[in-house]
């Protein structure tokens, strides 16, 4: 019932908990830290995409005595990075499967000496034929992973797709492609590691998931749980890019610390981070859609292929989310999604905000505009005729048990963007004007939390305790990396207990202190972990009432006095709660049927784009994002999440291109990997409709990934609206638009003199 009650702190624009430290420049990121006797580490990487390592030579001109040298032979435990499948070595042993794969690690007391030393290690290879594209991998002429190059496949089926085509009034087909995308967190990956026989391995680092790193280090060092400790330092952006990769970097630094006997810091520079760490999975998605004469969906046959890179990392779960978002927020009686993730000899792709959904939604929402054009139905009308409503079922036959207000979101988006008037105005002004303006729409959902049975498997534990200094501490391994974890979780604890923000602090994200509340991913923190903190806070108050007669109403002083009385009587003051799935949840992992997500967040976005038919550049001029993501816990932070996600989505659509040459990132600099700047991002208007979700922390659903899902299709739909030309792949750069636009908008229209 808490979701409907009035709240004092939840819902208020409380300032960021760690904000003052960040603004004063005193927040401690990993590169701001030092340990006594610390040395520096670096990585010697593969220069080729695939091959056998014939020899590793050390140039005799270097005095190697001051260096610590680590190869696969030095690993005390298992030589793999523990994630889903244990296929990725911690250090290459005899063969390499992608450029930049780590082969040798070096540590030295002086950073300056390392660069020269890396150049003095000569690795000779016997190259093997590499695979660089989804198509090459599918052909299976060269097998680079397993027996068939396929990391994972899913088949999702609803109704009977094959018999739907004959009765269809229209069949529309389309193929869509998305490129890789770099997270471009401004703080590169970095860690400091220590090792001692007594304490085992300790790692401090810029990371999202302390317990992922913890688990991976246990395997690499063959150590028990209590001999590995992982501590998150202030983290300068992550976006998924610090979900899986830090497990590798932490293992590398820890191996150097283990062999050298000294703490070792490894902080990548930008070029290394861009070249060697994960990116968003490239995709190719094919749609075949059957409709009746009124534009109602009859069948969708969708085929997804992603490029997973050289090792499986998180490709299977990214593919799962792509599969579950492929058919969009629409009702369709017959759906088939066949999806596969393919191995190539690219640097492994990994988690990135949206996690497969942006790829799937790009294809679905471009396809909707193609359908509208083919059928001659207005694209808004087409979407509204097919939107999911309460009681409808998704492609997995998940019934919509919470209210679905897509019509309302669409109406609001049209009103706030003044859509119809603008559209009419552009239609007039575009005539004879080399600048063509258009509007584009995307409608979509994003599933909050882990997929299917995921949250039950995670079995998260979180809670609060009370320190002897008189503060409530939030105990979670959920991390802050800009999205607001610290603030919303302390808001929830303060609200639930009845304290002020100043009375609640975050425990350090240190596996030696906090329980495993699951990874900080999948838009799950506010909803799932927030709910655990809400329950833990209420449970603590109930305990104090029962055992030490805390009154119905209490002051802060009375609360902490009760805590001390409890401590004297019963020991420590701790309240922990474990995840409990909402009742009536069913998920069949084999058939991909049932409740795919505990909840969905919904959004309609509108992009206004101007295309210059002289320079072939496209500029997003204004953007509207309307969403329902449950209760908004903090309006300033929530809007910041939406705006930041939209800006990344604009980059994904129009700016950010990872150029690969022979499997190597050719533009691994901020000079040539271009993200939107302060001059490129348009005004972004953000609106929330709030429907509290009864199983989320104070009614919250997931919010972090949602905004990244829509900009790319909305923008390409707007370009179609402006120019009449359909583009099917992103990133869409001027050179990509050139040929098609030049043909469609002949030069005389564009001449100025």
């Amino acid at each position: 019932m808490s979701t409907h009650a009035t709240t004092r702190i939840v819902g208020a624009p409380v300032p960021r908990k760690e904000g003052v430290d960040k603004l004063l420049g005193r927040a401690r990121y990993v590169d701001d830290m030092e340990r006594e006797g610390m040395g520096y580490g670096t990585t010697v990487r593969s220069a080729i995409p695939r091959g056998l390592i014939r020899s590793i030579g050390f140039d005799p001109h270097i005095d190697w005595s001051g260096f610590t040298i680590v190869t696969a032979a030095d690993i005390p435990g298992k030589n793999h990075i523990q994630l889903i499948v244990a296929d990725q070595p911690c250090l290459a042993d005899g063969k390499v499967n992608h450029c930049e794969e780590a082969i040798v690690l070096l540590a030295h007391a002086s950073k300056q000496q390392l660069r020269e030393a890396v150049a003095a290690i000569h690795i000779e290879y016997d190259p093997l034929p590499p695979v660089f594209t989804i198509e090459e991998s599918e052909r299976q002429d060269v097998i680079v992973w397993g027996t068939d190059n396929c990391f994972k496949s899913f088949l999702l089926e609803k109704g009977d797709v094959d018999s739907a085509w004959s009765g269809a009034a229209h069949i529309v087909e389309g193929e869509y492609r998305t490129g890789a995308q770099e997270h471009l967190y401004i703080e590169n990956n970095g860690v400091i590691a220590e090792h001692s026989a007594e304490n085992g391995v300790t790692v401090w680092g810029s990371l999202q998931c302390p317990y992922y790193v913890h688990k991976s280090l246990m395997a690499v060092f063959d150590l028990p749980e209590d001999k590995v400790r992982v501590i998150q330092t202030e983290t300068g952006g992550a976006f998924g890019g610090k979900e899986d990769y830090p497990s590798i970097l932490a293992a590398h630094a820890a191996l150097l610390a283990y062999k050298s006997g000294h703490p070792v810091k490894m902080v990548y520079d930008r070029m290394e981070d861009l070249a060697a760490t994960t990116k968003r999975h490239p995709s190719r998605i094919r749609h075949r859609t059957a409709l009746d004469r009124n534009g109602k969906l009859l069948a969708m046959d969708i085929e997804i292929a992603t490029d997973g890179g050289a090792y499986s990392t998180l490709s299977s779960t990214v593919l799962s989310r792509a599969t579950l978002h492929a058919s969009g927020p629409y009702v369709c009686p017959n759906v088939r999604v066949r999806s596969r993730s393919w191995a190539t000899n690219a640097v492994p792709y990994g988690a990135f905000r949206g996690f497969g959904a942006p790829q799937a939604i790009f294809a679905m929402e471009r396809q909707m505009d193609e359908i509208a054009a083919t059928l001659g139905i207005d694209r808004i009308e087409l979407r509204c005729r097919n939107f999911l409503h309460d009681g409808d079922t998704t492609a997995t036959e998940q019934a919509m048990r919470e209210p679905v207000i897509l019509d309302q979101l669409m109406d609001r988006a049209l009103v706030e963007s003044n859509y119809h008037a603008r559209h009419a105005q552009f239609a007039r002004e575009n005539q004879g004007n080399p600048i063509k303006r258009g509007l584009g729409i995307a409608a979509f959902y994003h599933g909050s939390g882990f997929t299917g049975s995921g949250e039950r498997t995670l079995n998260s534990l979180a809670g609060v305790d009370v320190t002897s200094e008189g503060k409530v501490r939030v105990l979670v391994s959920s991390t802050e990396f800009g999205q607001g974890t610290n603030t919303v979780l302390t808001q929830i604890a303060a609200e639930a207990i009845g304290l002020d923000m100043i009375d609640v602090i975050m425990a350090p994200a240190d596996t030696g202190i906090v329980p495993n509340s699951g990874p900080t991913v999948a838009s799950r923190t506010a909803m799932v972990v927030g709910r655990l903190i809400e329950r833990a806070g209420l449970q603590l108050v109930a305990k104090l009432r029962e055992h030490v007669a805390l009154g119905e109403c209490f002051s802060c002083a009375e609360f902490f006095a009760a805590c001390e009385a409890y401590r004297a009587a019963c020991g420590s003051v701790v309240s922990l709660c474990r995840y409990e799935p909402p009742p009536g949840i069913f998920w069949d992992d084999q058939k991909y049927r049932g409740e795919a997500y505990p909840a969905f967040a919904w959004s309609v976005q509108v992009a206004q784009v101007a295309v210059d038919t002289v320079t072939y550049s496209a500029e997003v001029e204004e953007f509207w994002a309307v969403q329902e993501a449950g209760r908004v816990l903090n309006p300033v932070l929530a809007a910041g999440q939406i705006e930041g996600g939209v800006a990344q989505g604009i980059g994904y659509a129009l700016y950010e291109k990872v150029v690969l040459r022979n499997g190597r990132v050719a533009n691994n600099q901020m000079t040539n990997y271009i993200m939107p700047t302060a001059e490129d991002v348009p005004p972004i208007h953000v609106y929330f409709e709030e429907i509290p979700f009864q199983h989320g922390g104070y009614g919250a659903k997931g919010i972090g990934e949602l905004p990244h899902d829509g900009p790319a299709p909305a923008i390409l739909n707007a370009i179609k609206d402006a120019t009449g030309v359909s583009f099917h792949s992103i990133p869409l750069l001027p050179e990509d638009m050139f040929a098609a636009l030049a043909a469609h908008h002949p030069v005389e229209e564009a001449t100025t003199a």
Binding site: V20, G25, G236, Q483, T677, E679
Partner: protein, 173 residues
């Protein structure tokens, strides 16, 4: 070796500092390693992201592109020098209120760029703010809240100067 290196004198946040370092050592590294002022961050090391922005003799510079010999004798202001007498600078206050900082890694540089902008243009238009901050990349916010923060700080300045004026007028009377 280090005995051969010259001693460089720089004034940082009003304090005289000296560092005996190689002349081509980056100002960024002198600030972070030799003077232990780690508020200034490195994002790209090639002058693209602006995280290492500091003010040098009244100009905004990327400290990753400035060899320390070029800074010899200069007055430098870093993020650590913004707050005075235990009070947040107006920009720090408005960044806090408006949500101008998320992960915080671009924030020190962004604050210095914003301070530089307001020093030369106390009441910038949104277009001028966009231009003034174009050399500082933020991957979290999408910039909207940073613009708001700068606008709010400019209003704060205006309010402040109005107050000062009315105080002066009151004194004059």
């Amino acid at each position: 070796m280090s005995a051969c290196w010259p001693i460089f004198h720089i004034t940082v946040n009003g304090e005289d500092c000296a560092a005996q370092v190689p002349p081509m050592k980056r100002l960024l590294d002198v600030l972070r390693e030799d003077l232990r002022l780690t508020g200034t961050k490195e994002g790209c090391g090639e002058g693209e992201c602006g995280s290492c922005s500091v003010r040098m003799n009244g100009e905004l510079v990327n400290s990753c592109l400035v060899p320390v010999l070029q800074a010899d004798g200069a007055c430098i202001q870093t993020v650590e020098g913004l707050a005075a007498n235990g009070e947040l600078h107006p920009l720090q206050q408005t960044f806090l209120q408006c949500g101008g900082a998320q992960c915080g890694i671009c924030t020190p540089g962004m604050l210095m760029a914003a301070a530089q902008l307001l020093a030369h243009n106390p009441h910038p238009s949104t277009a001028e703010i966009r231009e003034g901050l174009a050399g500082n990349l933020c991957r979290c916010t999408g910039f909207m809240r940073i613009f708001e923060s700068v606008i709010a700080a400019a209003a704060y300045n205006l309010e402040d100067s109005k107050n000062r004026r009315s105080e002066q007028e009151a004194d004059a009377r």
